[in-house]
C-alpha cells in the first residue's frame, strides 16, 4: 500500500474538475466517488496511479441526466432511411426471447419501457414497442417493417450476436426476419463489438457513442508495451481473474452507465471485495 500526497490529490482534483465528476458527497451515508477513487489509487504505486489517472481522462460516465439524451442521439442516427422507408418500426429489448421474463432487471428493459411511456411521436409515429414473438409473427413483414433491438451498451458483441440470432430464427408469416431488417440501437458501444455483430450476423449496431480500446488503440509500440506492463501489475495487485483481465474479452473499455459498470471496463475501475472499495463498482460488495 502506498501513500497519497497532496500533489497527487491535486492531480485527482484536476481530473474530476475536467470530467465534471462530483468531489463532495451528495449523500453523507455513502462513500463519495472521489474518496473511492483515492482509496483505489492508494493500493497502487506511483506509476500505476498515474496510468489510472491518465486513462480516466478518457473515461465516460453516463449519468441519469444524459442517459436518455444519448439514447435519442442514437435513435436520430437511424435517419430517414429507417423512419421513411418502413411503415412499421418494431422495438424490442436486447434480451433473450427464450426467457420472456428476464431473471434480472436489465437496462434493455428500461430503455424499451421508454417507448411505452415517453412520447416519441416527435421522432416517428411508427413505433411498435412490444415483447411478444406472436406479435412479430403476425405483423412483421420484411417489405414494410424493421426491428430495432434496444439496449444501453454493446461490449464484446457476444450477447448481441446471440440475441440477434434468436430473432433471425424467429418465424414470421413470410418466413424469417432478414438481417437487413434488424438494427441494434444502443447508447454506447465498443467498436470491436460493433464489428463482431457485423461480421457474425451482418447486422448494424447504431450507437451515438463508439469507443476504441483504452490502451491498445491509443498507444503504440514501446509506449503501449509500457502501459500494458503497468496495467498487468495493477491487475495482479487486485488479483483479477484471467478471464477479466483488461475487462471481459479484453474489451479495454472505459465506461460506466448510470451507476453500473459493464465488466468490459478495465477491472481497476469496478472490481471490489469486502475490503477494497472501487470507484465505479458493478455491485456494492465493500463493507465500510
Amino acid at each position: 500500500m502506498s501513500k497519497i500526497n497532496p500533489d497527487l490529490l491535486i492531480k485527482i482534483v484536476e481530473l474530476f474538475e475536467k470530467k465534471n465528476w462530483p468531489i463532495n458527497n451528495s449523500n453523507a451515508n455513502t462513500i463519495s466517488l472521489f474518496d473511492r477513487f483515492c482509496e483505489r489509487l492508494k493500493l497502487l504505486d506511483d506509476n500505476q496511479k498515474l496510468l489510472v489517472i491518465e486513462l480516466s481522462y478518457n473515461y465516460t460516465w453516463i449519468q441519469l441526466k444524459t442517459y436518455l439524451e444519448h439514447f435519442y442521439d442514437s435513435l436520430l442516427l437511424l435517419g430517414d432511411n429507417v423512419f421513411n422507408s418502413y411503415d412499421k418500426i418494431f422495438v424490442y429489448p436486447l434480451l433473450s426471447i427464450s426467457n420472456s421474463v428476464p431473471l434480472k432487471t436489465k437496462s434493455a428493459g428500461f430503455l424499451h419501457y421508454m417507448f411505452e411511456t415517453d412520447d416519441y411521436t416527435w421522432l416517428s409515429n411508427k413505433f411498435h414497442p412490444n415483447t411478444s414473438i406472436r406479435y412479430l409473427y403476425e405483423n412483421f413483414d420484411n417489405n414494410d417493417s424493421i426491428l430495432l433491438i434496444v439496449d444501453d451498451y454493446v461490449g464484446s458483441g457476444g450477447t448481441a450476436v446471440e440475441i440477434c440470432n434468436e430473432y433471425l430464427s424467429t418465424k414470421i408469416k413470410s418466413g424469417h426476419i432478414k438481417n437487413t431488417n434488424i438494427k441494434v440501437v444502443t447508447i454506447a458501444a465498443q467498436i470491436e463489438g460493433i464489428e463482431t455483430v457485423k461480421n457474425k450476423v451482418d447486422i448494424e449496431v447504431v450507437s451515438a457513442l463508439k469507443f476504441n480500446k483504452g490502451i491498445s488503440d491509443k498507444y503504440f509500440n514501446n509506449e503501449k508495451k509500457e502501459k500494458e506492463d503497468v496495467m498487468n501489475e495493477i491487475e495482479k495487485i487486485l488479483k483479477i481473474s484471467p478471464e477479466l483481465n483488461y475487462g471481459y474479452k479484453k474489451s479495454e473499455a472505459l465506461i460506466t452507465m448510470l451507476n453500473k459498470t459493464p465488466n468490459n471496463t478495465f477491472p481497476v475501475y469496478w472490481f471490489e471485495n469486502r475490503k477494497k472499495v472501487a470507484p465505479f463498482p458493478r455491485k456494492k460488495i465493500f463493507k465500510p
Binding site: M1, K3, I4, N5, P6, D7, L9, I10, K11, V13, E14, I23, N24, N25, S32, F34, D35, C38, E39, K42
Partner: protein, 108 residues
C-alpha cells in the same frame, strides 16, 4: 480546525507528505482537498506547475503555531502521530484489538 490538525496539514503540504494520518483522524479525501483549497485561498500554499508548495506565509504560520503550542527541540520538527493516540484505559482493563481495525496488514 484544531491547531494540531492545522500544523499537520501545513507540514504535509510543505513536504508533499502522506495524507493518511488525516484519513485516520476521520477526515475524508474530499474534506482534505477542501482544506488544501482553503490554505491556497488564505495564501499559505500555492500551486506551481501542478505542484503544491507552501508559501512564506504558510511557513511563518507553521512557526507561529509551533510557538503557540510550545513545541521545542525535536517536537518542533517531528510531528506527533496524533492519529495513533488512543484514550487512556484503566490499568486492569484487558484490551483486545478489533481484528478489522488493525493498523497493519494482515496477510491471508
Amino acid at each position: 480546525m484544531d491547531n494540531n490538525v492545522k500544523i499537520l496539514l501545513l507540514k504535509i503540504i510543505k513536504f508533499n507528505g502522506d495524507i493518511s494520518p488525516l484519513i485516520k483522524l476521520g477526515y475524508q479525501y474530499s474534506q482534505i482537498i477542501n482544506s488544501i483549497k482553503n490554505e491556497i485561498e488564505e495564501g499559505n500554499a500555492e500551486r506551481q506547475n501542478g505542484m503544491l508548495m507552501i508559501t512564506e506565509k504558510g511557513n511563518s504560520l507553521i512557526e507561529q503555531i509551533s510557538k503557540k503550542m510550545n513545541r521545542k527541540d525535536s517536537n518542533k520538527w517531528i510531528e506527533p502521530e496524533i492519529e495513533s493516540r488512543i484514550p487512556k484505559i484503566p490499568i486492569n482493563f484487558i484490551f483486545l484489538p478489533n481484528q478489522n481495525e488493525l493498523t497493519f496488514m494482515f496477510i491471508e
